[in-house]
């Protein structure tokens, strides 16, 4: 019995040890293979001209994405909670964007947002708005990746919030309707407060996922032009691996570590 216990326990423990080892390796590159430099790398990172924009972009990206994903997801969840014909099927279809490989969504959006031949600019010009250089102008690149990421995140919010709505007893709504509460009032007085625990978890998970977002930005804009859509995620990747051609010169690992470490501690706190 104890043997098996040890065996089954050893599996996950081994996994964890493995994980911790990997994280440790990132850090130990500077401390083990290179001379100890203390906080020198941190100083370099904070002094880097990219640091402030990357921080701003990360905060803006995360906050705007979370807000819209949650608001749209909640509105759709309330809508789909009304049980009409086809509602289950349509709700399932909504999951598609979330299940698609990120590279597929990202490349589709890059083509839709293409300045010359994208469908978005074609639609805009049909209503008389001039072409927008979505991905190639510094003013719009961050907005573009935010739009794409909201599209990807809405289904998750919808499904989780919908399952939360299901647990609110119908009798509450009936009682409120009898008391003459409007639909708007019922939402703010019943749905929203009772959904708070589920909302908190949804937003927390959303925060974790959004901070991790890397694929979409990298594929759509590579953090550019001129760092206008660089977040900590893409920045550390670029410092570490450059243009997808990892040349592991002596400067790179320290850059990698220094950029990932403050970031790592940032999400830990």
């Amino acid at each position: 019995m104890t043997l098996y216990l040890a065996l089954f326990y050893a599996y996950p423990l081994y996994r964890n040890l493995d994980l911790s080892l990997r994280d440790y390796t990132v850090r130990s590159f500077v401390q083990g293979d290179a001379p100890f430099t203390g906080l020198e790398n941190y100083r370099k990172v904070f002094d880097d001209p990219t640091f402030a924009p990357a921080l701003t972009h990360t905060v803006v990206f995360t906050a705007v994405c979370l807000l819209f994903q949650y608001a749209i997801g909640l509105a759709l969840a309330v809508f789909f909670n009304q049980h009409f014909r086809l509602s289950a099927t349509l709700r399932a279809l909504f999951l598609v964007p979330w299940l698609l490989p990120l590279i597929v969504s990202a490349s589709t959006w890059s083509w839709m947002l293409n300045s010359d031949s994208g469908i978005v600019n074609a639609l805009l010009s049909a209503v008389g708005i001039g072409p927008v250089n979505w991905l190639t102008s510094p003013e719009w690149s961050l907005t573009s990746v935010i739009i794409a990421n909201i599209w990807i995140g809405v289904p998750f919010n919808l499904v989780v919030l919908y399952s939360g709505l299901q647990s609110i007893p119908v009798s509450l709504y009936e009682a409120a309707a009898l008391d003459g509460a409007s639909a708007w009032r019922r939402f703010w007085s019943i749905t929203f407060p009772l959904l708070r625990p589920v909302s908190a978890i949804t937003l927390l998970l959303g925060l974790v996922y959004t901070l991790k977002v890397f694929d979409i930005i990298w594929i759509m804009t590579k953090g550019g032009p001129a760092d206008s859509s660089t977040t900590f995620a893409t920045w550390s990747y670029r410092l570490g691996f450059g243009n997808l051609l990892p040349a592991f010169g002596p400067a790179r690992p320290s850059a990698t570590c220094s950029s990932s470490r403050p970031w790592c501690s940032a999400w830990c706190t």
Binding site: L5, Y11, Y24, S125, K212, F214
Partner: protein, 266 residues
């Protein structure tokens, strides 16, 4: 009726990018730069799909192998771990569950950099097994949590009965627990496969330039190399989306269970 119409319209709006991907994948090269673009593939062509068949099959094969390998590794690691956490109650089990939750939050790039450093020393860069191990870290924490939650629901009497009949924990696990956890195995396998199939971060750091590159890199190279052939890019994207679509259609129940599992189980 009005609600159904609204629902259909909302869904159509939401799925428009997916439709657009399909549309572009059938568009001829010469129509690609047309302004405004055609809303329907009136001059439909299979050029793009022919290009996929010609150039992308090895990538798809690699992705399939990596996906299946990740599923096998994930289930092999997570099912016993879930069993141990749920039923054998080892010391430190609570801490372990917490660590698994935290592990899910580690950004992929941080992991990728760690893997890169290790694989560089071990010579595992650009290898299929290396990528399988890396991809499995995407799914293992989630899988253990699912298995633990599911196996906690298996009645203790059943396990005791098996014990009375002389089955050890390993035998009980194999003959009683595992068959009863079929649903959990399906959910975990689906997500492990989808995640490894869609993985781009690990692929681009660990497998880039190697002999066996997964489909996500296939698409990425396409975007980089020939900016003109968007029908081929989109056709590859459509093919790469097929597993997700098939899984959604065939196993919607398991997908919904998987999505909510993380949130409902605190």
């Amino acid at each position: 009726m009005g609600k159904t119409t609204t629902g259909v319209l909302l869904t159509a709006l939401m799925l428009f990018p997916v439709y657009w991907m399909l549309n572009v994948s059938f568009t001829r090269d010469q129509d690609m730069r047309k302004s405004p673009p055609d809303l329907f593939p009136v001059h439909g062509t299979f050029e793009g799909y022919r290009a996929v068949l010609d150039q992308q099959l090895p990538y798809l094969g690699t992705s399939l192998v990596i996906g299946l390998g990740t599923v096998a590794l994930t289930v092999a690691l997570a099912a016993p771990a879930g069993y141990a956490l749920a039923k054998l109650r080892p010391r430190g089990g609570g801490l372990l569950s917490f660590l698994l939750l935290v592990a899910q939050m580690v950004p992929g790039i941080i992991m990728a950099m760690g893997f890169y450093a290790i694989y560089l020393q071990l010579g595992l860069l650009q290898s299929v097994p290396g990528l399988i191990v890396a991809d499995s870290t995407l799914a293992v924490p989630f899988a253990v949590l699912i298995f633990t939650a599911f196996m906690s629901g298996i009645p203790g009497e059943l396990l005791q009965a098996a014990q009375m009949d002389g089955a050890g924990p390993l035998r009980t696990f194999r003959s009683v627990v595992l068959p009863m956890s079929r649903n959990a195995v399906v959910t975990v396998s689906l997500f492990a496969f989808l995640w490894s199939w869609s993985d781009f971060v690990f692929a681009s750091t660990l497998a880039n330039g190697g002999a066996h590159e997964p489909i996500t890199l296939g698409i990425y190279h396409y975007i980089g190399n020939n900016n003109q052939e968007w029908n081929a890019i989109m056709a590859t994207a459509v093919v790469a989306s097929l597993p997700a679509t098939v899984i959604l259609v065939l196993a919607q129940r398991y997908v919904a269970a998987g999505v909510t599992a993380g949130a409902v189980k605190d």
